[in-house]
Symmetry: C2
Subunit: 307 residues, 2 copies
């Protein structure tokens, strides 16, 4: 762990000046002197070896680099504000809702469809469903309950396996009749592939193209499994999709049926929440629902699986 080379707090000063364009306005907002604001900007620029503002007698004008800086600095600000909101929010507020976060596929293609059953079984529970896409990792504390691909390594969490699921390569019959049916993995290299944005894969479990063949390069990349599905259904090419999603679209055909990837969903929640009846109710509901629909997640003839 090495300390970053600038004072994080100086970002507050940067943002205030960037927004107002003036030292004195920023100083009033920050309830400090304009001299302090100027010094903080100077220090930030010196630390980072960049010029963030052009100075003129009537104010500070952002440089192009300064412009680029704003959005990331605002992210820091947002997180700092979240920290405070979290403290102000106090302990776990007893709400009438359960917030469940889950990967996009599971949330949108399974859970959203069984939601009516939950509403019938537990009419007093108000559910907030947070869909997790490729490029984001929602903090676990922002959801009461999470379905994840990658359970926590440490921390005060309870976690258990929810269900295994499998993925395979799919395409439309239309695409295959045009482009030819692959017979071996090597054939895949001659095909148009659809996948996640390769340099934005942070979540373990989603970087599966390399498991199939090290040289697959998707020509269409999307952060959303639904975009990938839609592109596949429109005949753009081959795509690795979970069985429980592809199985809902009869026009999709499995390619190379021996290429099966295995993954696992886990339920995670904070230990403290195990005492909360509605959270347990949603957990029980999840367990029961995937058990009821188990055949959607894996093939019955699961030979030769690729991890």
């Amino acid at each position: 762990m090495s300390r970053t080379q600038f004072t994080w707090d100086d970002l507050q000063f940067f943002l205030a000046v960037a927004r107002s364009g003036q030292l004195s306005t920023a100083a009033r907002q920050l309830r400090t002197s304009h001299v302090t604001v100027a010094r903080r900007i100077d220090r930030l620029e010196f630390s980072l070896k960049v010029k963030l503002f052009e100075r003129n007698p009537r104010g500070y004008v952002l440089t192009p680099i300064g412009h680029r800086f704003i959005e990331t600095a605002e992210k820091v600000e947002l997180e700092a504000e979240r920290l405070q909101a979290e403290i102000a929010g106090g302990a776990l507020i007893q709400r009438g809702v359960v917030r469940l976060s889950a990967p996009e596929g599971f949330a949108n293609f399974f859970f959203a469809q069984i939601l009516v059953d939950l509403a019938v079984k537990h009419p007093s529970i108000s559910l907030e469903l947070v869909t997790i896409q490729q490029i984001m990792a929602l903090s676990r504390k922002e959801a009461d309950l999470a379905v994840v691909l990658d359970p926590p390594k440490a921390g005060p969490y309870y976690f258990e396996p929810l269900t295994g699921y499998q993925l395979a390569i799919f395409a439309t019959g239309d695409y295959l009749s045009r482009a030819g049916e692959p017979q071996r993995r090597e054939d895949l290299l001659d095909h148009s592939f659809i996948g996640y944005i390769q340099d934005m894969i942070f979540a373990p479990g989603l970087d599966y193209l390399g498991d199939i063949h090290p040289r697959i390069r998707p020509s269409f990349q999307s952060s959303s499994i639904f975009s990938q599905l839609t592109a596949t259904r429109n005949g753009l090419g081959l795509c690795v999709l979970p069985l429980f999603i592809a199985g809902q679209y009869p026009e999709l055909r499995m390619v190379l049926p021996d290429v099966i990837l295995d993954r696992q969903y886990w339920i995670v929640c904070h230990h403290d929440l195990l005492q909360v009846a509605r959270v347990r109710a949603v957990m029980d509901f999840l367990r029961a629902s995937v058990a009821t629909h188990a055949q959607r997640f894996t093939t019955s003839d699961a030979h030769r699986a690729v991890r």
Copy 2:
């Protein structure tokens, strides 16, 4: 803009102590004295009025609140590191792809469907589609081109209107025959409503339930329009949906046809990228595609629109 009430820089000290469990170890890592570290922790605790650590003679032990603090503090750290990487990384790298970001509805229900046309027309362009959900605001610098609901107020950006679109209230006939057909806005309060997660609405343009009636409270909330759509299609209740999405599902019926919300998509890119041919090509393609499909976005009898 009010300054947050604690020194952001103290978060670095918090993280160092949280990770090592010891003042002296943290101090060595931070290249400062342990007294300074202790003082910074004390100041943070005082500012926020929380106790983050229990002190004992052999080290600092995180409190439950302290544990919760780590993940958000780590996000601040990550963003600060990104700031530095950004400075170190320098200018725009020339790549063979165009990365387009767009709101979930537009990306998944319109663009993904016309993607084959782009591939045919511009086979050398490799597209990365980043779908923007409710709870995230992807930095503009992370996409070459963006479709947004809210154009930038300032900065070196080029932006132009792409298309207007309308939203209306929808439900399945099945739901309506069970729950009754609303005749006036007041009737909506007696219905089950589906919408975005109210306390996670950061993006302007998505907080439209209040425009329809100030007292609508959704009983199912999701960060994904697709989840909302799926829940609606499964008969869970009423939902405000864009016409170009709902129009693809014949089982969805418009409720209170005079309640029409107008919104506008914009194309945004950095000025510098206007010189890049493949970016311009994707922009041209977008313009042409929405023009070709214009009737999907608005009703032809657009009377009494609510802004």
